[in-house]
Point group: C2
Chain length 334, copies 2
């Protein structure tokens, strides 16, 4: 399509210097006499030179590329984390290759391999179900940061909110509002955060001397439809409830929808609380009470930390906390 690629040799020739000097100018690695530097810069401008990142990566061993393994492009939470990661790379010279693991370990391992083939300098894993054994192997090969997932003995490289405590707080809030029969819509099986949220919910009930009723627990999948199904299930099984804690906002929307269809008022008859605080929740009718997760900030922290790790600098991870956003979908009862 084009005449020919302009290389460092062309610049060297035009500026009457050696290729090495051109390289030095590009990389600002060692000082080059100002007069030469100027000629080189001019030559690069005139010829429209752009360095070939592949060649640089090959010889330098640094590809300036990071891998990002997400699990579900299109999920509001994960997309926000990814957005934060990519935003955190701005101006760093690094780019991100984004791949989708689809919450399947085999697929995850496969796409990680394609990332490694591309000589990525570091990797961010968002969620996922890769076994700890594989993770242990992986972290020996490449700088690694986990977001939305935890791993024993690897705390310094994990960015997460405390899902257990957050769910505990959400449930406790409902209890303080006088609720005793609190249903729960679980997130997808095998998702660490979903498990933690369930456990926090259970513990809050226990600490308040409230019995956990299996009929009031529904196995959802983080999509709205499962919130709808949850309500059907609860109603069918006949154990009354005055509040529902859904493990994310989309399921909470489904819950709210199902209540409406059965003319059960929210929050007067049933309070609903979600999780994540995706942007839409504040605009629902009624607006949704939820646990906010600072997803974009978490993503930014992830790339910042990863860049430090790659540079061999000490990194520190901010502590992220979920925060309760009380809105209209919950109220006192009793």
């Amino acid at each position: 399509m084009q005449n020919r690629k302009v290389t460092i040799l062309d610049i060297a020739e035009r500026a009457s210097v050696s290729p090495a000097t051109v390289s030095r100018v590009i990389n600002k690695s060692v000082v080059v006499k100002e007069s030469k530097r100027k000629v080189v810069i001019e030559a690069m401008d005139e010829l429209g030179f752009r360095p070939n990142a592949l060649a640089r990566g090959l010889v330098s061993g640094r590809s300036m590329t990071l891998g990002v393994l997400t699990q579900d492009i299109g999920s509001p939470l994960y997309d926000n984390i990814a957005k934060g990661i990519i935003r955190g790379l701005e101006g760093s010279g690094y780019s991100a290759i984004l791949v989708d693991g689809l919450w399947r370990e085999n697929r995850e391992l496969e796409v990680i391999n394609t990332l490694l083939d591309r000589q990525i300098d570091g990797l961010v894993l968002i969620g996922g179900v890769i076994s700890e054994g594989e993770l242990t192997k992986l972290r020996k090969r490449i700088p690694l940061i986990l977001v939305g997932r935890e791993m024993q003995g690897w705390e310094d490289y994990c960015i997460n909110i405390d899902n257990f405590s957050a769910a505990y707080e959400a449930t406790k809030f409902l209890i303080e509002q006088g609720h005793r029969r609190i249903a729960h819509v679980k997130g997808s099986p095998n998702h660490q955060d979903a498990e933690q949220r369930f456990k926090g919910y259970a513990k809050a009930l226990e600490d308040s001397g409230i019995e956990l009723i299996p009929n009031l627990i529904f196995q959802g999948d983080f999509f709205p439809q499962s919130g709808v199904l949850a309500i059907s299930s609860f109603l069918e099984r006949g154990d009354g409830f005055s509040a529902v804690f859904a493990a994310n906002d989309m399921m909470a929307m489904g819950v709210r929808r199902a209540l409406y269809q059965r003319s059960i008022r929210c929050p007067e008859d049933v309070s609903v609380i979600g999780f994540d605080d995706q942007i839409e929740t504040a605009f629902l009718v009624p607006s949704l009470t939820t646990m906010r997760q600072p997803s974009v900030e978490m993503g930014m922290a992830a790339s910042a930390a990863l860049l430090d790790v790659i540079a061999g600098k000490p990194h520190d991870l901010p502590i992220f906390k979920a925060s309760l956003q009380v809105r209209e979908s919950t109220c006192r009862t009793g």
Copy 2:
């Protein structure tokens, strides 16, 4: 971190063949005698060999990488398109580098340059505000597909729904339901789809002999809050309305919310129609009538077409149409 990278030379030595033969086995480019092939494969397995994508790209001139320029990671529509693109790459050997243009031409051009530096084999542009002049230059340099954007004389490489017609249809639907005073919340300025939707709206009114009332048009930004502000504006200016057409679903949610806060019933007092059909809309209360846009499919078509273009094969683009999803937020009036 690791002993040393296993290269093609190690394999060659271990299998007692030349590096070229190993390469042939990897690429299946020419037939290698089965016995040798087997030894090579074995050697690769035993040593855990993985080819270096940088080296391959450098010498072959094919990086097996595509660039994807989106404008707003975290936006439901764009994320779904990106999801489709990435999904469409599965099994092709290509990976995607995702960058964010933030709807700013300078930023877009800058990140496109970083993509070109990385020797991408093709580029998908989702939306964006790059001038046609720049696009013309760009498409001479690299295989290009546009999604969610159109360009004169470049129709064979653009994937889009007809926003004008879709908006026309949405507005016409409201008119057929008896509405005459139909407000419109516009999408962000300079966004091609927002402009088209506005034009379709205006044309539908015109064709039905309904006067367009400037006070009933609000300049939004595709975020929910602008839907809220739109209602304030309409009410303040005092021109009555019985329906609102928002240029996307998030703004429609804001509209719905604002109506609720003022005790204006939806749809009894005011009908609301959105655009995009993001997953949540079917679960709202009331569920939202909207124009569905097959975003994931469009993304998949984009990568399929791009791969064809790169391969020098003829490509054809399916025609995508928006489809009206009638739900509860609209009803007859008058």
